[in-house]
Amino acid sequence: MTTSNLHLYILAAPLLGAFAVNLLGRLSRRWVAPLTLGVLGYATIAALVVLARVLRDGTISYTIGNWRPPFGIELVIDPLGALMLLLISAVALTATFSSLTSIERELPGREHLFFTMYLLLIAGLTGLALTGDAFNLYVLLEITSITTYGLIAMGRGRAPLASFNYIIMGSIGACFYLLGVGYLYLLTGSLNMADIANILHGLQETAALATAFAFIMVGLWVKMAFFPLHSWLPNAYSLAPSGASVMIAPLMTKVTVFLMIRVMFSIFSPEYEFIQHAGVQSLIVWVAALAIVCASALALAQRDLKRMLTYIIVAEVGYMVGGVWLANSQGMTGAILHIVNDALMTLCLFLAAAAIAYRTGSLGFDSLQGLYRRMPITMAAFTIGAFSMIGVPPTAGFFSKWYLILGGIEANQWGYVAALLFSSLVNAVLFFRIIEIAYFRTGEVGHGHDHGHAAVRVEEAPLMMLAPLVLAALALIAVGFGSGPLVSGVIRLAVPGGF
């Protein structure tokens, strides 16, 4: 038990900020930016403090309203949760700089409405990282989902339709989760995660338990777009307004993967999942391998930058699910490290896409020709993000692949290893196609036409969009070099015991 309320404030700040933005934003547009940035800045700093505290003192548990568990709702912050808190706040803060600029253009006059939902989404994500109660998880999951539906629907053209499709599929997923929790409640009479784990420990293996697990898993897989339940993601993320996708794409699926880890290790136990049902474990790793391969192949067929990136997200989810289900500590480390790395990589790439869309209005491959002359810094940052996706050291992406492949080798899951290598190669093809078009294909045939060079001015994205992009690219290199301390200092503690 702890008396400090700091971690609750991390959740409360964006929540209250959302209402403030809505009300004050109606009075004057100029309230929106400082409020949003202020709230998120506070959340980031608080998350940093909480992480330091957790690393020093161990897991924090906090009861809301002083109703003691297992009857009250409990917040549990272990090292993994604290890491997620910091990731969510930092990524959201970085993305917000870019969002503010692009939303000004995409949704003029409605920024306060957009950022209300935006801040509510972040509050929901933060809550997901904090909660220790299974039903509370459902509520927060739906908060994040509903706000996402709304944010996506604010886009143009086909966006509302894509959002509706997402509503249908996402709600099915949430309902499955709810059903699973219902079964658990039937079996144990409790909703508190630690309490359920305790009771399950002494419980006989039953079909009801297996059903509960299956429903919860499938529900979460729909939410994280695990192939073949991914069909909602490409449309939803690529048609959403730039300002929304820069924050949603890096975070939503990764937090859902985190939830899967939570459920698997804080409610159920590794023995149950991996040892008693070893066949299921192998099967899921194979499905993950299939997910990686198919999503990478689908990405090859795309002609639009943002859609290509969304299929890559689906492949990355396959990496993480496979890594968790490898059932060894290397794979688990790789999966958790990949949550961090993928969030940063996706942030970098989507920020670059947003900057390009802001300046050129289109993200089709043909309109990217010669882009490096007009937007050199953006393309440089994009290139670093691309290298990270491919897995080139010393960027961050290489190191999570290291652990994942190592885990696959240790577990003798050669299909998964082959899928990871295949996906790296496909990513190389995908990104070098773009690099070639942007860097080496000028509009004219041949070279040496000086008038072409003199006429092309550097027209970079505005500073508010460029700064977070450069920051994200630098973070990729920094996190890459810092992988050692990150893994040994934080992630090793976050890997659930029993490995």
Binding site: S145, I146, L161, C175
Partner: protein
């Protein structure tokens, strides 16, 4: 055969929920009209809500609203009262369901404004053009 029928009859409420869920699921996937899909979603959620509520039922149990004074002096015999926790949880779930429906309807309004129709195949035609 006797055994199976006895099973079904004994747990008739669960079977109804399953049927409701399947109806909702079919509506979401099989129907072409977007509003019907939404209604299917609602049916699906309702089935799960009913399932939860039914877990708290006890034979002969009454509604879990008691007189405060009586409860404080004599205590409550759990066998006389239906489990209130699932009810409370489902209130939350209903709220969630209503919010989703609200957002979905708002989205459908936009879709209608954009395409003039709420039939999925007609919309796909318009996009395809």
């Amino acid at each position: 055969m006797q055994g199976i029928i006895a099973e079904i009859v004994a747990k008739y409420n669960y079977w109804i929920y399953v049927v409701l869920m399947m109806i909702g699921f079919y509506a979401m996937i099989g129907k072409r009209n977007l509003v019907k899909k939404l209604i299917g979603l609602n049916i699906f959620q309702t089935a799960i809500i009913l399932f939860y509520v039914s877990t708290g039922v006890k034979r002969g149990g009454g509604i879990p609203i008691v007189d405060k004074h009586a409860a404080l002096t004599h205590g409550i015999d759990p066998a006389t009262v239906v489990n209130p926790l699932p009810h409370v949880l489902m209130l939350t779930a209903i709220v969630v369901g209503v919010s989703v429906t609200g957002v979905a309807l708002a989205v459908l309004l936009r879709v209608y404004r954009e395409y003039g129709t709420l039939e999925e195949d007609e919309i796909l035609e318009k996009i395809g053009k």
